[in-house]
């Protein structure tokens, strides 16, 4: 059930290996993509924190199966994901119109828009999960 529901030691190790490889690759070769120092550092930090969160969360789930990730947590995350998806879709639709408007004159690059949508998705998911958790 859910992300950690079917976690085994083999899957835990394989996922850690993939995340670790991505993180190390980004550190080694991220600079060559010339995305900007700050962006590369931010991306590496995000990936590193994600890896750490998976490492700790997965380890706890393995030690206490069925407790850290139960059906209520899965329901909360599912609801938060669904609403967050709708929020991102709505904002994407609004922005696709707004960015074409000459009156508004928004001079956004594709990178700006993509970054804003990713941040919006993450922030709305986190906030919604918190609110739904309090109410459920």
């Amino acid at each position: 059930m859910g992300f950690f529901g079917n976690l085994t030691m083999r899957r835990y190790a394989a996922t850690n290996l993939i995340l670790g490889a991505m993180f190390i690759n980004l550190l080694l070769f991220g600079g060559r993509l010339e995305m900007g120092e700050a962006f590369t550092a931010g991306l590496a930090t995000g990936l590193g924190v994600g890896w750490l969160a998976f490492g700790i969360g997965g380890w706890i789930a393995l030690k206490r199966p069925g407790r850290t990730w139960d059906e209520r947590t899965a329901t909360i995350n599912m609801k938060a994901s669904a609403i967050s998806f709708c929020v991102v879709m709505l904002v994407t639709a609004l922005m696709s119109a707004a960015l074409r408007s000459r009156t508004l004159g928004m001079d956004w690059s594709a990178a700006d828009l993509a970054g804003m949508l990713v941040n919006l998705g993450l922030a709305s998911f986190g906030l919604l999960a918190l609110v739904i958790r309090k109410r459920t």
């Binding site: 069925g66 139960d70 059906e71 209520r72």
Partner: protein, 65 residues
């Protein structure tokens, strides 16, 4: 959905932590179910009913009736 889980659990002398442990969920989930804020899935409801020695119909109160 209202239910009689708290009174049945207390009648059997179980703590929320012990009940959670036995059905394989977190204590927070038991708190939410007892408070009527979260409706468990059918497999979890069956586990609870079996553990508390009652039928699902006796454990959960259908408010539409």
């Amino acid at each position: 959905m209202k239910n009689r889980i708290r009174e049945r659990r207390q009648g059997l002398g179980l703590t929320q932590e012990q009940l959670a442990e036995q059905v394989g969920v977190s204590r927070q989930t038991i708190i939410s179910i007892e408070g009527g804020r979260y409706d468990p899935s059918l497999p979890l409801a069956l586990k609870l009913a079996r553990l508390l020695g009652q039928s699902i119909e006796d454990l959960f109160i259908d408010q539409e009736e």
